[in-house]
Symmetry: C2
Subunit: 131 residues, 2 copies
DNA sequence: ACAAATGATACAATTATGGTATCATTATCT
DNA sequence: AGATAATGATACCATAATTGTATCATTTGT
């Protein structure tokens, strides 16, 4: 069970690279060259980051991507949510139906606590920490 | 991202049932009746629990399963490991090759810390807590 | 106008998870 | 001893999530 999937991992590497480029616009080609990430995959993910307001994109010749915010404002938890959906260690679904013991389930309570801790930790890591 | 998969979930439910049956031997049929878990799937998983020394099995007419240990001695973490493999929030693999920055990776260090915490928590929950 | 970039989107491959089927083996009961 | 009721072993299949590819449209700088 992974906390971070490949998309998120790639995105982090790419974002670090972009962050280090300061105010210069970085193209996909440059990222592919230095990070060895499959091009179409990377493109798709960068486009998503653009939509979600993490990157700012520039079309046309000389175009590419820049960070849309300061690294300090970019939390790992947000990236995980973008690529892996809402953080949920617990599902409480059984054969497509919500488990009827949700309310009083001891295990659920314990896992909910763990989840709160993990989210708290992830909320304390920003892109700046990885530079 | 789920902390507990269906196998583990089913196993927990089944183990609770078996635990509540005290020293009586419980057959797969009884478990299927009351837990509505697909029979062949449950069977496979109980067999695995038997191999791993969590359950004790009895063949032949009137056979079935009993707990091999006291509920207090049965940790959730062990079940997770049985059905989901060794606990590892971090993979540090990229395209089948270990990531070269493993040593100094800031993110890895943070996730390792989270992992230690989660394992600690899971090590503190036993089957007895769920009865 | 052209070329170099991203935007949108649909598709394909691989892997993990969830589930099924079948035959062999063992133990009990008569 | 033989029939039956249980688990043991194992191989297979289905579905969903993850990972990766391909293609055409749109925008922009020269």
């Amino acid at each position: 069970m992974k906390l971070i999937t490949r998309d998120t991992d790639y995105a982090l590497r790419a974002l670090c690279f972009v962050a280090k480029s300061k105010d210069r616009v970085v193209s996909v080609s440059q990222l592919v060259d230095s990070l060895k990430i499959p091009r179409p995959f990377l493109r798709k993910n960068l486009q998503l980051l653009n939509k979600r307001g993490v990157l700012k994109s520039y079309k046309g010749l000389g175009g590419g991507f820049k960070l849309a915010r300061k690294p300090r404002q970019l939390f790992i938890s947000e990236l995980i949510r973008i690529f892996q959906g809402p953080f949920q260690l617990n599902e409480c679904f059984l054969k497509k139906r919500p488990c009827p013991h949700k309310k009083e389930c001891v295990l659920k309570k314990k896992i909910d606590n763990i989840e709160r801790y993990v989210i708290g930790q992830l909320d304390s890591i920003t892109l700046a920490d990885l530079l």
